[in-house]
């Protein structure tokens, strides 16, 4: 699914906007390339001889194994893949009186929908139609997000290379299987614990083994559905938790989980400008309204003051008029009184 999506996008930057929702709203489902290869590790057959480790180093031109084959001290600690050991075998269950120890081989699981490919920001991983997940060092920036993302701790990095460090991981011997050869580990396994073939066929083989020997196997093929399924699958007689594999993992592919949020991004880009311009407009309008209210209040105050002044002026004028009238009246009264007095005086004489 991831592969087709990536192929469809073809690297257009604008497509970032649709990355998370590329499949939302569609009703089709891509179940993976038909006839793609895979490998089945039957841990009930594995004897921990580490021939696969040796062969892997040979076919990949890597330095030979540090601890010689047969050295049991190797199994005292849990090891992981490194930049020079693309596969390692660990012992997970010690031998008992009636049962041999249980070993499991670790390497890149070649997921059906690899999250290393989804999280790579330079598109340096590809899921090939043949099944292997390939890495293109010529594009890699060395951000190591792929190594952080891998739920199987399967990717390693050349930390000691200052100029051209690469991500190192199992390639499922892509070149060898293109030539019709077996992957190095599958060819080297003396116990037939590693089976190479078309993934669908391997699932049938695994089911058949479980059906024939129900007491030997847990009725589960690890990798058939976990996180969308893997090309490397595991059969076991002990619980997968004891073998260092997470049990009960979701069947939802990790890429779908990882990119689910990206669907929100185009909404932010499209909704925010309008929303924020609206908020800016609100704050501006708030200011404008406040200013208008202030101006109105000032105008009202001025009008009120003017009105009052006018009234005061009128009252003063009124008062002045009355004062004048009163003084005139008084003057007239006084004059009349004086005239009367004068007349009385004159009458006496």
């Amino acid at each position: 699914m991831t592969t087709t999506r990536r192929g469809f996008i073809g690297g257009a930057i604008g497509a970032a906007l649709t990355a998370g929702t590329a499949e939302a709203g569609t009703t089709t489902h891509f179940a993976g390339y038909p006839g793609r290869y895979g490998l089945l590790h039957d841990t009930t057959l594995c004897v921990g001889c580490r021939s696969c480790e040796v062969a892997c180093k040979e076919v990949n031109d890597l330095p030979p194994v540090e601890a010689p084959v047969g050295d049991q001290a190797v199994f005292d600690s849990t090891r992981r893949t490194t930049e020079t050991a693309l596969t390692v075998v660990n012992k997970y269950v010690d031998a008992t009186d009636d049962a041999p120890p249980v070993y499991r081989k670790l390497q890149c699981m070649h997921c059906n929908e690899p999250c290393c490919a989804t999280v790579c920001l330079v598109h340096a991983f590809e899921k090939t139609p043949e099944g292997p997940v390939l890495y293109h060092p010529e594009l890699c920036m060395g951000c190591r997000y792929c190594i952080t993302a891998c739920p199987y701790y399967a990717l390693a990095y050349e930390f000691d290379d200052p100029l051209t460090p690469k991500v190192m991981r199992c390639t499922m011997c892509y070149d060898r299987i293109k030539e019709g050869k077996l992957p190095g580990c599958a060819e080297a396994c003396p116990m037939g614990a590693i089976t190479f073939g078309e993934r669908e066929e391997l699932i049938k083989i695994a089911r058949e083994r479980i059906r024939k020997n129900p007491e030997r196997y847990i009725d589960h093929i690890f990798g058939e559905h976990e996180f969308g399924g893997t090309s490397w699958m595991v059969l076991a007689g002990h619980s997968f938790g004891e073998l260092g594999l997470d049990e009960g993992m979701t069947h939802e592919p990790l890429p779908a989980i990882a990119t689910s949020y990206l669907g929100v991004v185009p909404l932010v880009v499209t909704i925010y400008p309008g929303l924020l311009m609206g908020m800016y407009a609100f704050s501006k309008r708030h200011e404008a309204v406040a200013k208008a209210e202030r101006e109105e209040a000032v105008a009202d105050a001025i009008a009120a003051t003017e009105e009052e002044g006018k009234k005061k002026l009128e009252a003063a004028a009124d008062r002045a008029k009355k004062d004048k009238e009163r003084s005139i009246n008084m003057a007239v009264k006084k004059a009349l009184a004086e005239a009367k007095k004068e007349a009385e005086k004159g009458g006496d004489e």
Binding site: R80, C120, L121, M141, G142, C143, F159, D246, Y261
Partner: protein, 394 residues
């Protein structure tokens, strides 16, 4: 990179060359340049404790993840002042934007040190884009936002240089830049959290959540507010001769920021509890990791939230500042947790990661570089005060 750092040390200052500040920063920066030279000649293995299980360490956890969150003060204050009309905060915007720009510059420096092949930094845009990657979106946003922060920081330089025409042009772009900055910040602050959504088994369920992008965004807002308070605490004292606002106004700004930070941290607490409830992880609180989760939430989210609230209510600047420092430490703790402490909590080899002294030294050198750059700029340009010709404009 090393050339720049050495030049920064040799910039003459008023008190002669051999001031205590210059000597200490000089030693840190020269040491950092030497260590970077070792990193690019001997490789990451020679200078870091990174491993196949812990491919990301201090440089991603601090320089990138914490750096971006702590630089959020730029978009928070500029949005408050220019978009939401909270003009009383204008005196702190320039310093916050400059801190933001230098913070993002530090992010890029950290990334360049951390990338296996840093010269391929433009590859996602020019050679082979991988748009399904959350990191693709983060890179695009950080590249654009660094540009926005640069333009938003230029008014101080243009006023200093007296380039009135250019200053006017940049001033007219303020609203557009602020909106663009807020969009970009919302996107990449949250997508940094979304980067961890790919690891539901490797990140402990108490920290992992389908809502982790929202957790990242909200905590970044709190971190940005706290960082403006912390940055003001230092620069307000160092540049008191430049500061024009009254002590009372400065305190009012701090109390306003404290109120906002208290609300943000309360929101953050709620969404963390909601994530716990939605995913029904209450039983995990009784485990060792649960106790550690409680330390992070109670000690570095709820405690500063309460201190901010009391500090605001009682007008106690000391409480506000203590709360801000705790918040800044808390955000770093959270980012360290999701990148390398709680991350890989159940890894099969039982390995743990502790940064070595060289990683720490280089990180300290980058911070020192940012502090020196802030000082060189604020000594010369109108950062802490308004240029008299441009008072009251955008």
């Amino acid at each position: 990179m090393s050339d720049v750092t050495v030049d920064a040390v040799h910039e003459p200052t008023k008190g002669g060359w051999f001031t205590p500040f210059n000597i200490i920063t000089g030693i840190i920066l020269i040491g950092g340049a030497v260590l970077l030279a070792i990193r690019f000649t001997q490789g990451l293995a020679a200078t870091t404790n990174l491993s196949h299980t812990y491919p990301w360490g201090l440089w991603i956890g601090f320089d990138v993840m914490s750096g971006v969150a702590l630089a959020a003060g730029g978009f928070v204050t500029s949005s408050a002042v220019y978009l939401f009309g909270m003009k009383e905060y204008k005196p702190v915007v320039r310093a916050a934007l400059l801190t933001g720009f230098l913070g993002y510059f530090l992010v890029v420096l950290g990334l360049l040190a951390d990338l296996g092949r840093p010269w391929r930094l433009p590859y996602p845009f020019i050679k082979s884009p991988g748009p399904t990657s959350p990191l693709f979106e983060v890179s695009l946003c950080v590249a654009l936002y660094l540009t926005v922060l640069f333009i938003e920081s230029t008014p101080a330089a243009l006023e200093w240089l007296g380039l009135k025409k250019a200053r006017k042009v940049v001033g007219s772009m303020t609203i557009a830049l602020t909106i663009f900055g807020l969009i970009l910040s919302t996107m990449h602050q949250s997508t940094l959290g979304a980067m961890l959504m790919v690891a539901p088994t490797r990140l402990h369920p108490l920290w992992y959540s389908a809502h982790i992008p929202v957790h990242f965004f909200v905590s970044a807002v709190a971190a940005g507010l706290a960082m403006v308070i912390v940055e003001g605490m230092i620069s307000h004292r160092a540049y008191h001769h430049q500061v024009q606002i009254t002590e009372d106004h400065f305190h009012r700004i701090n109390f306003g920021l404290a109120k906002a930070a208290a609300v943000t941290l309360a929101v953050y607490t709620s969404i963390k509890v909601i994530a716990l409830a939605i995913e029904d992880e209450w039983h995990l609180l009784a485990t060792g990791w649960g106790a550690y989760w409680l330390v992070e939430i109670l000690g570095f989210v709820v405690l500063p939230c309460v201190l901010f609230a009391i500090g605001y209510r009682e007008r106690k600047l000391v409480l506000v500042r203590v709360a801000a420092v705790i918040t800044v430490i808390g955000i770093m703790l959270n980012r360290f947790n999701v990148v390398f402490i709680v991350f890989n909590w159940n890894n099969p080899t039982g390995e743990i990661y502790v940064p070595n002294w060289m990683e720490i030294w280089i990180t300290v050198a980058f911070i020192t570089f940012a502090v020196v750059a802030f000082k060189l700029i604020a000594d010369r340009m109108p950062i802490m005060y308004e240029h008299p010709d441009w008072k009251g404009t955008h």
